[in-house]
């Protein structure tokens, strides 16, 4: 029983990273309509950044902050330099982002290599409550994710500012005519979503080793939870991410991990075909004229 609870807690940390990816995807894809296949690479760069800095002597926390900031800047530049021009033709953005993910992955491989990278545990040890050991770092990951979710939820899903944001993005023509700076909102959301992915990567490397390909592994899970939950639905992403993360984590401990991914993919296909707006309701991405 104790083992089960322990596994449950461990899986929560897996779920957290998936949730962070999912939030980025759901906000960017759902609200701005930009489909960025390279979103996973933001996670990867966040993790690699931490690895580079920590390997060169920096503490974990400053490394995390700098990496996340770096990813945010990268996201900002990519939105301004690339994605803003594909807004009228989202399919072009999708295809271009496929190229982008290849570029980013292989630049990292070129500079370093394609092997696993890891850092020493930033916060070793565990808290003991009764019979259950809570590994400290995993708890931290869950807490940080919870904070991010709360911030996101409050600013974008619940606040008046967030409502205005979502309304403007849903009807850009009207908003533009009203003088609302849609372009800036889109840039802001893209940057925020990318930064969260970078944070996910920075947290991931504190838990497991990563390779330059970790992005491709995570992006599909990110798409899966956001599409299953419904684009733009942050609460839904949390729910779907929790379920998925728990199932992934537990099956890793108890059963067949490969099939979990398969089941997730299967569910995604079913949802996309029969209920494209997601289980909990969301947009299908902004309308394409």
């Amino acid at each position: 029983m104790e083992t089960f609870i322990q596994e449950l807690v461990n899986s929560l940390s897996v779920a957290s990273v998936i949730i962070l990816m999912g939030i980025g995807v759901t906000l960017i894809f759902g609200l701005t309509g930009i489909i960025n296949f390279a979103h996973g690479e933001f996670l990867m760069i966040g993790g690699i950044g931490v690895w580079v800095l920590v390997s060169n002597g920096m503490g974990y926390i400053p490394a995390l902050l700098i990496s996340v900031a770096f990813v945010a800047v990268l996201g900002f530049l990519l939105e301004r330099g690339l994605f803003q021009f594909t807004l009228p033709h989202p399919n072009n953005g999708f295809m271009a982002s496929m190229g982008l993910s290849i570029v980013l992955q292989h630049i990292v491989i070129r500079i370093w290599n394609s092997f696993q990278k890891s850092i020493p545990e930033p916060l070793p040890g565990a808290w003991q409550i009764g019979e259950i050991r809570f590994i400290k770092m995993r708890v931290i990951v869950v807490l940080i994710t919870a904070v991010v979710v709360a911030i996101t939820f409050l600013t974008i899903s619940r606040s008046r500012y967030g409502l205005a944001l979502r309304a403007s993005l849903a009807d850009r023509q009207t908003a533009a005519l009203m003088g609302i700076p849609i372009g800036r909102y889109i840039t802001a959301i893209f940057t925020y979503g990318s930064a969260i992915a970078g944070l996910g990567g920075a947290l991931t490397i504190a838990l497991f080793p990563i390779t330059p390909f970790v992005g491709s592994e995570m992006i599909m899970l990110g798409f899966a939870v956001s599409l299953i939950a419904g684009l733009g639905n942050v609460a839904g992403v949390v729910g779907a991410g929790l379920i998925l993360g728990l199932v992934q984590g537990l099956s890793g401990a108890y059963g067949t991990p490969e099939w979990t991914t398969a089941y997730t993919y299967g569910l995604l296909i079913v949802i996309l075909i029969f209920r494209p707006q997601g289980l909990f309701g969301g947009t299908m991405g902004p309308a394409i004229e």
Binding site: P90, F94, A96, I102, F223, I273, P276
Partner: protein
């Protein structure tokens, strides 16, 4: 910069209306005749492709040439639903995998050889292509592309976990093909000639499809689906048929691949490979005669010939793809062709001393 991209698109549409949607033609009444330039270039390409073994390329280069041709076959298939009907699928590696594994399993369990297995490979791949394509009738471009990527990965995972039946992660082996057309297929050069012949056939097939009434119908679906329906086009059926046609190409390529290299494994058929297929076809240009071949050449063959580091070349592909999407619509061949037309026009202008060429008559 966005303006620039848009203007290029518009400028290209008039000049390219005839040139891009089908290969360059002389505009004549009552039919499409390939222009003289096209015939010459095609002849050169055919000769170059078939003459490769006599240029002493070496084993390594030759095997890359085989892969290039196999890939090109799949890409020519992709040109039908993607180039003509405008629907992108990221599932083609999976379809090739269906063809390859069908061939391998039929060989192991029923003793069939490459030729006997070929219709089955084509059929299985076509059926799954239709299945993969069904969602496209309901969901839009990018959602559909993701669905096909996911389906392709599902196939790969199933193959890895298929135990003895699929050979699991190690894959399956195939027996030698023996003789074909009097040539010993164990010699790589002969295998290459066979595959190259199929590649040229698929190039021809795609050309014929694009210039047929069926190709026109597919283009109408891409251009304005609602209008196509209003004049009686059964858009759903035609889309599905387009997918199934592309499946036939992929299935045959899979069969050929299995017998060319005598070993197949699941990682040849995953979502990442599909993405490279999409990259290649977009790079070369899905709607031009030589686009798919060029895309396959650039990504698969060129780095080997020029001995470029594989990592560097991948970075270059990604950048090239972004460049093509953002700046060079229609792919490299289309741009080359536009450049060539412009040069021709310039030469004509210089000879006659008249102003604007008829090709650029559209307003920006």
């Amino acid at each position: 910069m966005a303006q620039w991209g848009r203007r290029l698109n518009k400028q290209s549409s008039a000049a390219a209306a005839v040139a891009l949607t089908q290969p360059p033609v002389r505009k004549t009444r009552g039919g499409v005749h390939p222009s003289r330039e096209l015939i010459i270039v095609t002849a050169v390409v055919v000769v170059a492709v078939l003459a490769l073994p006599w240029m002493h390329p070496g084993y390594r280069l030759l095997s890359f040439a085989v892969t290039t041709c196999l890939t090109a076959i799949v890409l020519y298939g992709m040109a039908v639903p993607f180039g003509q009907a405008g629907i992108m699928s990221l599932g083609y590696a999976g379809l090739m995998g269906f063809g390859a594994y069908t061939a391998a399993i039929l060989s192991r369990d029923l003793g069939m050889n490459m030729w006997q297995a070929m219709p089955f490979s084509a059929l299985v791949a076509a059926l799954f292509a239709g299945l993969f394509g069904l969602p496209s009738l309901r969901i839009s471009g990018h959602h559909f592309a993701i669905t096909t990527w996911v389906m392709c990965e599902l196939l790969r995972i199933t193959l890895v976990n298929g135990g003895k039946f699929t050979g699991a992660a190690t894959g399956l082996d195939l027996p030698p093909t023996g003789k074909a057309f009097g040539l010993d297929m164990d010699k790589l050069a002969n295998a290459y000639l066979l595959v190259a012949a199929f590649m040229l056939l698929s190039m021809l097939a795609t050309y014929l499809i694009a210039n047929s009434r069926y190709g026109r119908t597919l283009r109408s679906i891409r251009e304005n689906e609602q209008l196509a329906r209003s004049i009686g086009v059964n858009t759903d059926l035609h889309k599905l048929i387009a997918f199934m046609v592309s499946g036939v190409f992929a299935g045959i390529a899979g069969d050929l691949q299995a017998y060319s290299f005598r070993h197949i494994s699941p990682d040849l058929y995953g979502g990442a490979v599909s993405m490279y297929f999409a990259l290649m076809v977009m790079l070369g240009g899905p709607r031009t005669l030589f686009g798919p071949l060029t895309g396959a050449l650039i990504v698969t063959f060129l780095p080997e010939v020029m001995r470029i580091d594989p990592i560097d070349s991948r970075i270059a592909y990604g950048v090239a793809l972004i460049a093509v999407i953002m700046l060079l619509p229609g792919g490299i061949i289309a741009v080359t062709e536009r450049g060539y037309q412009w040069l021709k026009g310039a030469a004509r202008r210089a000879r006659r001393g008249v102003s604007p060429p008829d090709v650029d008559s559209s307003p920006a």
